[in-house]
Amino acid sequence: MLGVHRHRVKGERKRLSPRRALQLGACALFNGYALGFAKGKIFTGPTKGICVPVLNCYSCPGALGACPIGALQTAIGGQRGHFPFYVLGMLVLFGVLLGRGVCGLLCPFGLVQDLLHKIPSPKATVPRRLDKPARSLKYVVLAVLVMALPALASGAAPVPYFCKYLCPAGTLEGGIPLLLSNPSLRQAAGWLFVGKLLVLALVLALCVPVYRPFCKYLCPLGAFYALFNRFSLYRLHLDKGKCTGCSQCREACPMGVEVLKDVNSAECIRCGKCRSVCPSGAISHSLGAEGPPAGKKAGHAPRAQGKGE
């Protein structure tokens, strides 16, 4: 039996990891209106009144829910501009439950970036002196493009500045499929669309050598959830009694988190790489518990590298 199991494990090296299965499932769930892609139209059912936790364009033909960043800009801006109770409340709930686990486990655009980074190529490490300040950019995008500019423009027609000038997810999930299947929209596309295509192309091209550049440097939703990462219910635990200080976790972390110093850093997207590579089983995850879950107290054998992917 053991031999059969071993053989099966060997033969199934390319089997989906639980994390990848979750990412694909979430992508299908948030974009489950398959007919929309064929018709070149978007879903108009009542679930569109509920925000999904991820950056998922509500103009994607398959989208079943609303993009929280788009909804936030609409609520803040425009003639009816007001404090966004409903959208902000949803974001707070998602943030306190999962923190940036949303980015690592559920986000479709994060999945796209993950897959692109798997393309065999030389991988780049952004120099620390550039990387550290650049990570603050996403907070600027949140404060300026998503909140301040739409608020300043309130009184006129709402302008979702982030969606209009930056969001590559909107171009990929909404713009390209709609323009491919809807001739009238294709005719209306102009320089703005070309500009957005260039932004998308640049982000996607950067994803091959750099891990998740959009999440690290630009995503306003990731910036919002980062504020909750240190106390969100879904979190990581480092058992300092078991930790040998080998730093394999730090070396493996694709987000560049100093795991030994701050296991629940604002930059951690809960991808699980650190857990996978830890040779002493010192890193665990839980939903709500303050320490490692009871079953994980005893050391567990390290899993094969890459399983956390």
Binding site: C57, G65, F85, Y86, L185, A188, L192, F193, S232
Partner: protein, 49 residues
């Protein structure tokens, strides 16, 4: 971050605050506003508007 009790108090505060915000927003008709926007193709989002 202060001890576990402080963390739980913070979480509980944010959970209740989040629920309250959603409730107030829904009562003000903001869910309808979100839906109104989301059921129409957002031309800005797709790079046309």
């Amino acid at each position: 971050m202060k001890g576990p009790k402080g963390v739980w108090a913070l979480r509980a505060g944010f959970l209740l605050g989040g629920l309250a915000l959603v409730g107030v927003g829904a009562a003000r008709g903001e869910a309808w506003e979100v839906m109104e926007k989301a059921v129409r193709i957002c031309l800005e989002c797709i790079g046309i508007g």
